[in-house]
Protein backbone atom coordinates (compact mmCIF):
# COMPACT_ATOMS: atom_id res chain seq x y z
CA UNK A 1 0.00 0.00 0.00
CA UNK A 2 2.08 2.96 -1.16
CA UNK A 3 -0.07 5.77 0.24
CA UNK A 4 -1.04 5.66 3.86
CA UNK A 5 -3.60 8.43 4.03
CA UNK A 6 -4.64 10.71 6.81
CA UNK A 7 -6.98 9.46 9.43
CA UNK A 8 -10.64 9.33 8.46
CA UNK A 9 -13.46 9.64 10.97
CA UNK A 10 -15.47 6.57 10.10
CA UNK A 11 -14.93 3.12 8.58
CA UNK A 12 -15.29 3.28 4.83
CA UNK A 13 -16.75 1.02 2.16
CA UNK A 14 -15.15 0.80 -1.28
CA UNK A 15 -17.58 2.21 -3.84
CA UNK A 16 -16.03 0.08 -6.58
CA UNK A 17 -16.20 -3.39 -5.01
CA UNK A 18 -18.02 -2.87 -1.72
CA UNK A 19 -15.23 -4.27 0.41
CA UNK A 20 -14.87 -2.70 3.86
CA UNK A 21 -11.63 -0.89 4.51
CA UNK A 22 -10.03 0.27 7.69
CA UNK A 23 -10.48 3.95 8.28
CA UNK A 24 -6.85 4.96 7.92
CA UNK A 25 -6.17 3.80 4.35
CA UNK A 26 -6.76 5.68 1.14
CA UNK A 27 -7.12 2.80 -1.31
CA UNK A 28 -9.20 -0.32 -1.16
CA UNK A 29 -7.17 -3.34 -0.05
CA UNK A 30 -9.35 -5.57 -2.23
CA UNK A 31 -9.46 -3.84 -5.61
CA UNK A 32 -7.09 -0.91 -5.27
CA UNK A 33 -9.66 1.75 -6.13
CA UNK A 34 -9.50 5.09 -4.36
CA UNK A 35 -11.73 5.17 -1.32
CA UNK A 36 -14.16 8.04 -0.72
CA UNK A 37 -12.18 10.87 0.73
CA UNK A 38 -12.36 11.15 4.49
CA UNK A 39 -12.72 14.48 6.19
CA UNK A 40 -9.35 16.13 6.17
CA UNK A 41 -7.18 15.15 9.05
CA UNK A 42 -6.05 17.50 11.74
CA UNK A 43 -2.31 17.88 11.39
CA UNK A 44 -0.02 17.75 14.42
CA UNK A 45 0.47 21.23 15.95
CA UNK A 46 4.19 21.37 15.16
CA UNK A 47 3.46 21.14 11.42
CA UNK A 48 1.05 24.07 11.40
CA UNK A 49 2.01 27.73 11.92
CA UNK A 50 0.21 29.96 14.46
CA UNK A 51 -1.19 32.20 11.78
CA UNK A 52 -1.67 31.89 8.07
CA UNK A 53 -2.41 34.36 5.36
CA UNK A 54 -2.72 33.73 1.70
CA UNK A 55 -4.03 35.35 -1.44
CA UNK A 56 -5.79 33.30 -4.03
CA UNK A 57 -8.28 33.73 -6.81
CA UNK A 58 -11.35 31.63 -7.27
CA UNK A 59 -13.93 31.31 -10.04
CA UNK A 60 -17.29 33.06 -9.78
CA UNK A 61 -19.79 31.60 -12.23
CA UNK A 62 -18.15 28.18 -12.14
CA UNK A 63 -18.17 28.05 -8.35
CA UNK A 64 -20.88 26.04 -6.65
CA UNK A 65 -20.72 28.18 -3.50
CA UNK A 66 -21.23 31.43 -5.41
CA UNK A 67 -24.04 29.82 -7.43
CA UNK A 68 -25.64 28.59 -4.22
CA UNK A 69 -25.46 32.04 -2.58
CA UNK A 70 -26.69 33.62 -5.79
CA UNK A 71 -29.72 31.29 -5.97
CA UNK A 72 -30.42 31.86 -2.28
CA UNK A 73 -30.46 35.66 -2.60
CA UNK A 74 -32.67 35.68 -5.70
CA UNK A 75 -34.92 32.90 -4.40
CA UNK A 76 -35.49 34.54 -1.03
CA UNK A 77 -36.17 37.91 -2.67
CA UNK A 78 -38.79 36.27 -4.85
CA UNK A 79 -40.34 34.37 -1.95
CA UNK A 80 -40.57 37.48 0.24
CA UNK A 81 -42.25 39.45 -2.56
CA UNK A 82 -44.73 36.64 -3.14
CA UNK A 83 -45.38 36.42 0.59
CA UNK A 84 -46.20 40.14 0.67
CA UNK A 85 -48.51 39.67 -2.33
CA UNK A 86 -50.19 36.74 -0.58
CA UNK A 87 -50.77 38.84 2.54
CA UNK A 88 -52.28 41.61 0.38
CA UNK A 89 -54.65 39.09 -1.20
CA UNK A 90 -55.67 37.72 2.18
CA UNK A 91 -56.21 41.24 3.50
CA UNK A 92 -58.47 41.97 0.53
CA UNK A 93 -56.21 44.64 -1.03
CA UNK A 94 -55.66 42.61 -4.17
CA UNK A 95 -58.75 42.32 -6.34
CA UNK A 96 -58.21 38.99 -8.05
CA UNK A 97 -56.14 35.82 -7.96
CA UNK A 98 -55.56 36.28 -11.69
CA UNK A 99 -53.57 39.43 -10.94
CA UNK A 100 -51.36 37.68 -8.42
CA UNK A 101 -50.35 35.17 -11.13
CA UNK A 102 -49.55 38.04 -13.46
CA UNK A 103 -47.50 39.68 -10.71
CA UNK A 104 -45.70 36.38 -10.02
CA UNK A 105 -44.79 36.02 -13.71
CA UNK A 106 -43.63 39.64 -14.05
CA UNK A 107 -41.57 39.48 -10.88
CA UNK A 108 -40.05 36.13 -11.94
CA UNK A 109 -39.01 37.78 -15.21
CA UNK A 110 -37.51 40.70 -13.25
CA UNK A 111 -35.56 38.35 -10.97
CA UNK A 112 -34.35 36.38 -14.01
CA UNK A 113 -33.24 39.67 -15.58
CA UNK A 114 -31.29 40.63 -12.45
CA UNK A 115 -29.74 37.15 -12.46
CA UNK A 116 -28.74 37.57 -16.11
CA UNK A 117 -27.15 40.95 -15.35
CA UNK A 118 -25.21 39.46 -12.43
CA UNK A 119 -23.95 36.66 -14.69
CA UNK A 120 -22.85 39.28 -17.26
CA UNK A 121 -21.03 41.28 -14.58
CA UNK A 122 -19.30 38.13 -13.28
CA UNK A 123 -18.18 37.06 -16.73
CA UNK A 124 -17.49 40.33 -18.52
CA UNK A 125 -16.37 42.65 -15.71
CA UNK A 126 -14.62 40.20 -13.39
CA UNK A 127 -13.54 37.70 -16.07
CA UNK A 128 -15.08 34.92 -13.94
CA UNK A 129 -12.30 35.34 -11.33
CA UNK A 130 -12.17 37.01 -7.95
CA UNK A 131 -8.94 37.58 -6.11
CA UNK A 132 -9.00 37.78 -2.34
CA UNK A 133 -6.71 37.53 0.67
CA UNK A 134 -7.56 35.38 3.66
CA UNK A 135 -6.05 35.12 7.10
CA UNK A 136 -6.47 32.79 10.05
CA UNK A 137 -4.96 34.15 13.26
CA UNK A 138 -5.43 33.52 17.00
CA UNK A 139 -7.93 36.46 16.97
CA UNK A 140 -10.17 35.22 14.19
CA UNK A 141 -10.51 34.87 10.44
CA UNK A 142 -10.63 37.63 7.88
CA UNK A 143 -11.25 38.17 4.22
CA UNK A 144 -10.01 41.05 2.10
CA UNK A 145 -10.76 41.91 -1.50
CA UNK A 146 -7.48 41.89 -3.42
CA UNK A 147 -8.87 42.99 -6.74
CA UNK A 148 -8.49 46.62 -7.68
CA UNK A 149 -11.25 46.33 -10.25
CA UNK A 150 -13.80 45.36 -7.60
CA UNK A 151 -12.67 48.10 -5.22
CA UNK A 152 -12.64 50.69 -8.00
CA UNK A 153 -16.15 49.75 -9.14
CA UNK A 154 -17.51 50.05 -5.58
CA UNK A 155 -16.09 53.56 -5.22
CA UNK A 156 -17.23 54.50 -8.72
CA UNK A 157 -20.77 53.41 -7.80
CA UNK A 158 -20.72 55.74 -4.77
CA UNK A 159 -19.45 58.70 -6.83
CA UNK A 160 -21.81 58.06 -9.75
CA UNK A 161 -24.71 57.60 -7.34
CA UNK A 162 -23.91 60.89 -5.62
CA UNK A 163 -23.52 62.79 -8.90
CA UNK A 164 -26.65 61.27 -10.41
CA UNK A 165 -28.58 61.82 -7.18
CA UNK A 166 -29.35 58.13 -7.03
CA UNK A 167 -29.33 56.98 -3.40
CA UNK A 168 -29.84 53.37 -4.53
CA UNK A 169 -26.63 53.31 -6.59
CA UNK A 170 -24.62 55.14 -3.95
CA UNK A 171 -26.01 52.87 -1.23
CA UNK A 172 -25.18 49.73 -3.22
CA UNK A 173 -21.64 51.04 -3.66
CA UNK A 174 -21.28 51.78 0.06
CA UNK A 175 -22.71 48.38 0.96
CA UNK A 176 -20.27 46.64 -1.36
CA UNK A 177 -17.43 48.76 0.02
CA UNK A 178 -18.29 47.74 3.57
CA UNK A 179 -17.96 44.06 2.62
CA UNK A 180 -14.55 44.44 0.99
CA UNK A 181 -12.92 43.54 4.30
CA UNK A 182 -14.64 41.21 6.72
CA UNK A 183 -13.24 39.97 10.01
CA UNK A 184 -14.82 37.50 12.38
CA UNK A 185 -13.59 36.86 15.89
CA UNK A 186 -13.48 33.26 17.04
CA UNK A 187 -16.06 34.06 19.73
CA UNK A 188 -18.62 34.83 17.03
CA UNK A 189 -18.05 31.60 15.11
CA UNK A 190 -20.80 29.10 15.83
CA UNK A 191 -20.17 26.60 13.09
CA UNK A 192 -17.49 25.74 10.54
CA UNK A 193 -18.57 23.66 7.56
CA UNK A 194 -15.70 21.74 6.01
CA UNK A 195 -16.02 21.17 2.26
CA UNK A 196 -12.96 18.96 1.96
CA UNK A 197 -13.56 17.96 -1.66
CA UNK A 198 -13.58 21.62 -2.66
CA UNK A 199 -10.88 22.91 -0.28
CA UNK A 200 -13.35 25.40 1.20
CA UNK A 201 -14.25 26.18 4.80
CA UNK A 202 -17.50 28.02 5.51
CA UNK A 203 -17.26 30.13 8.67
CA UNK A 204 -20.78 30.64 10.01
CA UNK A 205 -22.53 32.41 12.82
CA UNK A 206 -25.84 31.03 14.08
CA UNK A 207 -27.63 31.24 10.75
CA UNK A 208 -25.48 32.34 7.84
CA UNK A 209 -22.08 32.07 6.26
CA UNK A 210 -19.92 35.05 7.23
CA UNK A 211 -16.74 34.13 5.38
CA UNK A 212 -15.82 31.35 3.01
CA UNK A 213 -12.16 30.45 3.18
CA UNK A 214 -11.08 29.44 -0.31
CA UNK A 215 -7.95 27.35 0.09
CA UNK A 216 -5.74 25.54 -2.38
CA UNK A 217 -4.91 21.83 -2.22
CA UNK A 218 -1.49 23.02 -1.03
CA UNK A 219 -2.65 24.75 2.12
CA UNK A 220 -6.05 23.26 2.84
CA UNK A 221 -4.94 20.76 5.47
CA UNK A 222 -2.97 23.40 7.33
CA UNK A 223 -5.80 25.94 7.22
CA UNK A 224 -8.25 23.30 8.34
CA UNK A 225 -5.98 22.27 11.21
CA UNK A 226 -5.51 25.88 12.26
CA UNK A 227 -9.24 26.59 12.21
CA UNK A 228 -9.82 23.41 14.24
CA UNK A 229 -7.27 24.65 16.75
CA UNK A 230 -8.91 28.05 17.29
CA UNK A 231 -12.61 27.36 16.79
CA UNK A 232 -14.69 26.23 19.73
CA UNK A 233 -14.83 22.45 20.12
CA UNK A 234 -17.71 20.87 18.21
CA UNK A 235 -18.14 23.65 15.69
CA UNK A 236 -16.52 21.78 12.78
CA UNK A 237 -18.88 19.76 10.64
CA UNK A 238 -18.25 17.96 7.38
CA UNK A 239 -21.04 19.60 5.46
CA UNK A 240 -21.48 19.45 1.77
CA UNK A 241 -23.85 21.26 -0.54
CA UNK A 242 -24.54 18.15 -2.63
Amino acid sequence: MPFAGPTGRSPRICLACGAPSSKDVRFCGSCGAALPPPLPSILPPDTVPDRMLWVTSFPLLTNRFILYDFAKVLGFTYLIMMLIAGILVLAGHWPSVQQIFQFAAIFAAAVAGIGFLMVLVMVLFFGNRFRAGFSVTPDGVSFETAMWRAKWSNRAAVVVGALARSPGTAGAGLLAQSSEDVSVAWGDVRRVKVHGEHCVLSIMNGWRVMIRLYCTPENFEQVHSLVARYASPGTLTGGNLE
Binding site: A33, P37, W54, V55, C199
Partner: protein, 353 residues
Protein backbone atom coordinates in the same frame (compact mmCIF):
# COMPACT_ATOMS: atom_id res chain seq x y z
CA UNK B 1 -17.84 10.07 -25.64
CA UNK B 2 -20.91 9.49 -23.49
CA UNK B 3 -20.57 13.03 -22.18
CA UNK B 4 -20.53 14.33 -25.73
CA UNK B 5 -23.56 12.23 -26.70
CA UNK B 6 -25.37 13.51 -23.64
CA UNK B 7 -24.92 17.10 -24.76
CA UNK B 8 -25.52 16.44 -28.46
CA UNK B 9 -28.85 14.87 -27.55
CA UNK B 10 -29.63 17.84 -25.31
CA UNK B 11 -28.80 20.40 -28.02
CA UNK B 12 -30.71 18.45 -30.68
CA UNK B 13 -33.73 18.03 -28.39
CA UNK B 14 -33.81 21.70 -27.44
CA UNK B 15 -33.36 22.78 -31.06
CA UNK B 16 -36.12 20.50 -32.30
CA UNK B 17 -38.35 21.65 -29.46
CA UNK B 18 -37.82 25.32 -30.44
CA UNK B 19 -38.47 24.48 -34.09
CA UNK B 20 -41.75 22.71 -33.37
CA UNK B 21 -42.85 25.13 -30.65
CA UNK B 22 -42.58 28.15 -32.95
CA UNK B 23 -43.48 26.40 -36.21
CA UNK B 24 -46.10 28.45 -38.05
CA UNK B 25 -47.48 27.67 -41.51
CA UNK B 26 -46.61 30.20 -44.20
CA UNK B 27 -50.26 30.76 -45.06
CA UNK B 28 -53.65 30.05 -43.53
CA UNK B 29 -56.93 30.31 -45.36
CA UNK B 30 -59.88 31.65 -43.47
CA UNK B 31 -63.43 31.11 -44.64
CA UNK B 32 -66.75 32.64 -43.75
CA UNK B 33 -70.20 32.16 -45.25
CA UNK B 34 -71.43 35.41 -46.78
CA UNK B 35 -74.99 36.65 -46.94
CA UNK B 36 -74.72 39.49 -49.49
CA UNK B 37 -78.39 40.45 -49.13
CA UNK B 38 -77.96 40.99 -45.41
CA UNK B 39 -74.72 42.91 -45.93
CA UNK B 40 -76.45 45.07 -48.57
CA UNK B 41 -79.13 46.04 -46.08
CA UNK B 42 -76.58 46.79 -43.35
CA UNK B 43 -74.48 48.85 -45.74
CA UNK B 44 -77.19 51.06 -47.25
CA UNK B 45 -79.97 51.30 -44.66
CA UNK B 46 -80.15 54.64 -42.78
CA UNK B 47 -78.11 54.69 -39.57
CA UNK B 48 -79.60 56.01 -36.40
CA UNK B 49 -77.03 57.91 -34.44
CA UNK B 50 -77.75 60.17 -31.49
CA UNK B 51 -74.81 62.46 -32.10
CA UNK B 52 -73.56 62.09 -35.71
CA UNK B 53 -70.19 63.66 -36.39
CA UNK B 54 -68.97 65.26 -39.60
CA UNK B 55 -67.84 61.94 -41.10
CA UNK B 56 -71.13 60.26 -40.28
CA UNK B 57 -73.04 63.16 -41.81
CA UNK B 58 -70.92 62.93 -44.97
CA UNK B 59 -71.54 59.17 -45.21
CA UNK B 60 -75.25 59.77 -44.81
CA UNK B 61 -75.17 62.40 -47.57
CA UNK B 62 -73.39 60.04 -49.94
CA UNK B 63 -75.82 57.28 -49.11
CA UNK B 64 -78.78 59.54 -49.88
CA UNK B 65 -77.37 60.99 -53.11
CA UNK B 66 -76.02 57.85 -54.79
CA UNK B 67 -77.82 54.90 -56.20
CA UNK B 68 -76.91 51.75 -54.28
CA UNK B 69 -78.47 49.54 -56.89
CA UNK B 70 -80.06 46.27 -55.96
CA UNK B 71 -78.78 43.46 -53.73
CA UNK B 72 -77.76 41.47 -56.78
CA UNK B 73 -75.74 44.38 -58.23
CA UNK B 74 -74.15 44.81 -54.79
CA UNK B 75 -73.05 41.15 -54.91
CA UNK B 76 -71.78 41.57 -58.47
CA UNK B 77 -69.74 44.62 -57.40
CA UNK B 78 -68.23 42.75 -54.45
CA UNK B 79 -67.14 39.65 -56.34
CA UNK B 80 -66.02 41.51 -59.45
CA UNK B 81 -62.45 40.49 -60.37
CA UNK B 82 -62.20 38.12 -57.41
CA UNK B 83 -64.59 35.35 -58.10
CA UNK B 84 -63.21 31.87 -57.74
CA UNK B 85 -64.50 28.81 -59.58
CA UNK B 86 -67.48 27.35 -57.71
CA UNK B 87 -67.06 24.39 -55.38
CA UNK B 88 -68.95 21.13 -55.85
CA UNK B 89 -72.58 20.99 -54.60
CA UNK B 90 -71.76 18.49 -51.84
CA UNK B 91 -70.00 21.30 -49.97
CA UNK B 92 -73.38 22.50 -48.70
CA UNK B 93 -73.06 20.45 -45.51
CA UNK B 94 -69.53 21.84 -44.95
CA UNK B 95 -70.84 25.42 -45.23
CA UNK B 96 -73.50 24.52 -42.67
CA UNK B 97 -70.68 23.37 -40.38
CA UNK B 98 -69.02 26.79 -40.86
CA UNK B 99 -72.21 28.46 -39.62
CA UNK B 100 -72.25 26.17 -36.60
CA UNK B 101 -68.58 26.84 -35.84
CA UNK B 102 -69.12 30.61 -35.90
CA UNK B 103 -71.85 30.03 -33.34
CA UNK B 104 -69.32 28.07 -31.27
CA UNK B 105 -70.66 24.63 -32.06
CA UNK B 106 -69.83 21.66 -34.24
CA UNK B 107 -66.61 19.95 -35.23
CA UNK B 108 -65.00 23.11 -36.64
CA UNK B 109 -65.64 25.26 -33.54
CA UNK B 110 -62.01 24.96 -32.38
CA UNK B 111 -60.89 26.61 -35.65
CA UNK B 112 -63.07 29.70 -35.25
CA UNK B 113 -61.73 33.15 -34.55
CA UNK B 114 -63.71 36.39 -34.75
CA UNK B 115 -66.31 35.18 -37.27
CA UNK B 116 -63.91 33.22 -39.49
CA UNK B 117 -62.91 29.59 -39.66
CA UNK B 118 -59.24 28.88 -40.30
CA UNK B 119 -57.71 26.08 -42.36
CA UNK B 120 -54.32 25.07 -43.67
CA UNK B 121 -54.12 25.49 -47.44
CA UNK B 122 -53.57 21.76 -47.84
CA UNK B 123 -56.74 20.77 -45.98
CA UNK B 124 -59.82 19.62 -47.85
CA UNK B 125 -62.12 21.11 -49.01
CA UNK B 126 -60.27 24.45 -48.77
CA UNK B 127 -57.51 23.02 -50.94
CA UNK B 128 -60.00 22.99 -53.83
CA UNK B 129 -59.89 26.80 -53.79
CA UNK B 130 -56.31 27.37 -52.65
CA UNK B 131 -54.60 27.53 -56.03
CA UNK B 132 -57.19 29.89 -57.50
CA UNK B 133 -57.13 32.02 -54.32
CA UNK B 134 -53.36 32.39 -54.46
CA UNK B 135 -53.46 33.18 -58.19
CA UNK B 136 -56.16 35.77 -57.53
CA UNK B 137 -54.01 37.37 -54.82
CA UNK B 138 -50.98 37.58 -57.09
CA UNK B 139 -53.09 38.95 -59.94
CA UNK B 140 -55.24 41.49 -58.11
CA UNK B 141 -53.49 41.97 -54.73
CA UNK B 142 -56.82 41.28 -53.06
CA UNK B 143 -56.35 38.99 -50.09
CA UNK B 144 -59.97 37.91 -50.11
CA UNK B 145 -62.00 36.30 -52.84
CA UNK B 146 -65.44 34.77 -53.20
CA UNK B 147 -66.78 31.44 -54.34
CA UNK B 148 -70.00 29.50 -54.17
CA UNK B 149 -70.20 26.25 -52.29
CA UNK B 150 -73.46 24.36 -52.48
CA UNK B 151 -75.97 27.15 -52.86
CA UNK B 152 -74.11 29.57 -50.56
CA UNK B 153 -71.55 32.30 -51.07
CA UNK B 154 -68.33 32.00 -49.09
CA UNK B 155 -65.49 34.44 -48.62
CA UNK B 156 -61.97 33.01 -48.55
CA UNK B 157 -59.09 35.07 -47.17
CA UNK B 158 -55.42 34.47 -48.02
CA UNK B 159 -53.88 34.91 -44.53
CA UNK B 160 -50.22 35.37 -45.40
CA UNK B 161 -49.40 36.68 -41.90
CA UNK B 162 -50.91 33.93 -39.75
CA UNK B 163 -49.57 35.30 -36.44
CA UNK B 164 -51.25 38.63 -37.08
CA UNK B 165 -54.59 36.99 -37.88
CA UNK B 166 -57.38 36.11 -35.49
CA UNK B 167 -56.73 32.40 -35.95
CA UNK B 168 -56.73 30.33 -32.77
CA UNK B 169 -53.29 29.50 -31.32
CA UNK B 170 -53.78 25.84 -32.18
CA UNK B 171 -53.85 26.80 -35.88
CA UNK B 172 -50.98 29.30 -35.71
CA UNK B 173 -48.73 26.94 -33.72
CA UNK B 174 -50.09 23.51 -34.63
CA UNK B 175 -46.96 21.57 -33.58
CA UNK B 176 -46.84 22.81 -30.01
CA UNK B 177 -48.52 19.85 -28.34
CA UNK B 178 -45.92 17.47 -29.78
CA UNK B 179 -42.96 19.83 -29.29
CA UNK B 180 -42.44 18.69 -25.71
CA UNK B 181 -41.66 15.11 -26.76
CA UNK B 182 -38.15 15.77 -28.16
CA UNK B 183 -37.33 18.05 -25.22
CA UNK B 184 -38.38 15.48 -22.62
CA UNK B 185 -36.59 12.77 -24.61
CA UNK B 186 -33.39 14.83 -24.66
CA UNK B 187 -33.62 15.54 -20.92
CA UNK B 188 -34.19 11.84 -20.27
CA UNK B 189 -31.12 10.97 -22.36
CA UNK B 190 -29.08 13.63 -20.51
CA UNK B 191 -30.04 12.15 -17.16
CA UNK B 192 -30.11 8.46 -18.03
CA UNK B 193 -26.91 8.04 -20.06
CA UNK B 194 -24.43 6.37 -17.69
CA UNK B 195 -22.09 8.54 -15.69
CA UNK B 196 -20.21 5.96 -13.66
CA UNK B 197 -19.07 6.41 -10.10
CA UNK B 198 -16.48 9.12 -9.86
CA UNK B 199 -16.31 9.54 -6.15
CA UNK B 200 -12.77 9.81 -4.95
CA UNK B 201 -11.54 10.80 -8.40
CA UNK B 202 -10.35 14.23 -9.42
CA UNK B 203 -13.12 15.65 -11.58
CA UNK B 204 -14.93 18.84 -12.46
CA UNK B 205 -17.60 19.88 -10.00
CA UNK B 206 -20.74 18.12 -11.29
CA UNK B 207 -23.05 20.80 -9.88
CA UNK B 208 -21.22 23.49 -11.84
CA UNK B 209 -21.27 21.34 -14.98
CA UNK B 210 -25.06 20.92 -14.76
CA UNK B 211 -25.54 24.68 -14.18
CA UNK B 212 -23.27 25.53 -17.13
CA UNK B 213 -25.06 23.00 -19.35
CA UNK B 214 -28.39 24.59 -18.42
CA UNK B 215 -27.22 28.17 -19.01
CA UNK B 216 -25.52 27.26 -22.29
CA UNK B 217 -28.56 25.39 -23.50
CA UNK B 218 -30.89 28.27 -22.61
CA UNK B 219 -28.67 30.76 -24.44
CA UNK B 220 -28.31 28.54 -27.53
CA UNK B 221 -32.05 27.80 -27.62
CA UNK B 222 -32.80 31.53 -27.26
CA UNK B 223 -30.70 32.50 -30.28
CA UNK B 224 -32.08 29.58 -32.30
CA UNK B 225 -35.69 30.44 -31.47
CA UNK B 226 -35.34 34.23 -31.85
CA UNK B 227 -35.76 34.38 -35.67
CA UNK B 228 -38.53 31.78 -35.55
CA UNK B 229 -40.33 33.99 -33.07
CA UNK B 230 -39.60 37.29 -34.80
CA UNK B 231 -40.80 36.34 -38.30
CA UNK B 232 -44.41 35.88 -39.33
CA UNK B 233 -43.90 32.23 -40.16
CA UNK B 234 -41.23 29.55 -40.25
CA UNK B 235 -40.98 29.89 -44.03
CA UNK B 236 -40.39 33.64 -43.65
CA UNK B 237 -37.60 32.92 -41.13
CA UNK B 238 -35.98 30.48 -43.56
CA UNK B 239 -36.23 33.01 -46.40
CA UNK B 240 -34.11 35.35 -44.25
CA UNK B 241 -31.33 32.78 -43.83
CA UNK B 242 -28.83 35.17 -45.41
CA UNK B 243 -29.88 37.93 -43.00
CA UNK B 244 -30.96 38.05 -39.38
CA UNK B 245 -31.88 34.36 -39.20
CA UNK B 246 -28.44 33.30 -40.35
CA UNK B 247 -26.69 35.63 -37.90
CA UNK B 248 -28.82 34.49 -34.98
CA UNK B 249 -28.40 30.80 -35.82
CA UNK B 250 -24.64 31.24 -36.25
CA UNK B 251 -24.56 32.83 -32.80
CA UNK B 252 -26.63 29.94 -31.45
CA UNK B 253 -24.15 27.44 -32.91
CA UNK B 254 -21.26 29.37 -31.37
CA UNK B 255 -22.92 29.25 -27.96
CA UNK B 256 -23.69 25.54 -28.42
CA UNK B 257 -19.97 24.92 -28.91
CA UNK B 258 -19.67 25.71 -25.19
CA UNK B 259 -21.60 22.48 -24.60
CA UNK B 260 -18.66 20.69 -26.21
CA UNK B 261 -16.36 22.41 -23.71
CA UNK B 262 -18.65 21.25 -20.91
CA UNK B 263 -18.48 17.70 -22.29
CA UNK B 264 -14.70 17.98 -22.32
CA UNK B 265 -14.71 19.07 -18.67
CA UNK B 266 -17.30 16.52 -17.59
CA UNK B 267 -15.35 13.66 -19.17
CA UNK B 268 -12.07 14.59 -17.53
CA UNK B 269 -11.16 12.61 -14.44
CA UNK B 270 -8.05 11.40 -12.70
CA UNK B 271 -8.09 8.19 -10.73
CA UNK B 272 -5.31 7.38 -8.32
CA UNK B 273 -4.38 3.90 -7.17
CA UNK B 274 -1.30 1.86 -6.39
CA UNK B 275 -0.41 1.64 -10.07
CA UNK B 276 -0.28 5.40 -10.48
CA UNK B 277 -2.47 8.06 -12.07
CA UNK B 278 -5.08 7.29 -14.71
CA UNK B 279 -6.07 10.42 -16.61
CA UNK B 280 -9.27 10.06 -18.64
CA UNK B 281 -10.30 12.72 -21.12
CA UNK B 282 -13.05 12.98 -23.73
CA UNK B 283 -11.13 11.31 -26.57
CA UNK B 284 -8.03 10.01 -24.84
CA UNK B 285 -6.67 8.39 -21.74
CA UNK B 286 -3.27 8.28 -20.16
CA UNK B 287 -1.88 5.97 -17.50
CA UNK B 288 1.06 7.39 -15.58
CA UNK B 289 2.89 4.96 -13.30
CA UNK B 290 4.32 6.74 -10.28
CA UNK B 291 7.74 5.46 -11.28
CA UNK B 292 7.46 7.32 -14.57
CA UNK B 293 7.16 10.70 -12.83
CA UNK B 294 10.52 12.44 -12.63
CA UNK B 295 9.50 15.66 -10.88
CA UNK B 296 6.36 17.51 -9.88
CA UNK B 297 6.40 21.28 -10.11
CA UNK B 298 3.82 23.92 -9.34
CA UNK B 299 1.85 25.06 -12.35
CA UNK B 300 1.90 28.84 -12.38
CA UNK B 301 -0.40 31.03 -14.44
CA UNK B 302 -0.38 34.84 -14.24
CA UNK B 303 1.85 34.57 -11.16
CA UNK B 304 -0.55 32.28 -9.35
CA UNK B 305 -0.38 28.56 -8.63
CA UNK B 306 -3.15 26.83 -10.48
CA UNK B 307 -2.13 23.18 -10.31
CA UNK B 308 0.81 20.84 -10.64
CA UNK B 309 2.91 19.93 -13.61
CA UNK B 310 4.18 16.37 -13.90
CA UNK B 311 7.49 16.02 -15.73
CA UNK B 312 7.77 12.41 -16.83
CA UNK B 313 10.98 10.47 -17.21
CA UNK B 314 10.53 10.44 -20.99
CA UNK B 315 10.47 14.23 -21.05
CA UNK B 316 6.74 14.73 -21.44
CA UNK B 317 5.09 17.39 -19.28
CA UNK B 318 1.55 16.73 -18.06
CA UNK B 319 -0.17 19.80 -16.59
CA UNK B 320 -2.93 19.03 -14.06
CA UNK B 321 -4.97 22.07 -13.00
CA UNK B 322 -6.93 22.15 -9.78
CA UNK B 323 -9.15 25.08 -10.68
CA UNK B 324 -12.81 24.01 -10.67
CA UNK B 325 -11.90 20.40 -9.84
CA UNK B 326 -13.23 18.41 -6.94
CA UNK B 327 -11.04 16.13 -4.82
CA UNK B 328 -7.78 17.47 -6.19
CA UNK B 329 -6.36 17.23 -2.69
CA UNK B 330 -6.59 13.42 -2.97
CA UNK B 331 -4.14 13.62 -5.87
CA UNK B 332 -2.08 16.24 -4.09
CA UNK B 333 -1.76 14.08 -0.99
CA UNK B 334 -0.87 11.04 -3.05
CA UNK B 335 1.90 12.95 -4.82
CA UNK B 336 3.12 14.39 -1.54
CA UNK B 337 3.12 10.99 0.08
CA UNK B 338 5.14 9.64 -2.80
CA UNK B 339 7.72 12.30 -1.96
CA UNK B 340 7.12 14.66 -4.86
CA UNK B 341 5.76 17.65 -2.95
CA UNK B 342 6.63 19.21 0.37
CA UNK B 343 4.19 20.78 2.80
CA UNK B 344 4.82 24.39 3.73
CA UNK B 345 7.31 24.63 6.55
CA UNK B 346 5.87 24.64 10.05
CA UNK B 347 5.90 27.97 11.84
CA UNK B 348 5.83 29.95 8.61
CA UNK B 349 3.00 31.00 6.47
CA UNK B 350 1.86 29.83 3.12
CA UNK B 351 3.50 32.12 0.60
CA UNK B 352 1.27 34.76 -0.85
CA UNK B 353 1.08 33.86 -4.51
Amino acid sequence: VTELLRRISLAAGAGYFSWLFFWTPAVLISVRPVDFAKEYVEEYSPRRRSFPGAMERAEELLRNTTDPGSASTYRARKIENRELPPGPPELASWVAQLDEAIAGQGPLASRAGKGRIYFLGSEKPVSLFATALEANYHRTQWLNAYATAGDRDIELMWENRPRGSNAPRSMVFPQRPSSWIPLLGALAAYLVLPRGSRRGQVRYDPVVIVVLDTLTLLAAAFFFALPLLAHDSTAAALNDIAGGTGVSWAFSALVAVALFTNAWHAAERIQIDQAGLHVRRLFSSLDIPLGAIATVEPLVRHGERTGVSLRLADGRIIPLRWDGRVDFNTLYRALRHAGFLQMAAAGGSIPIH
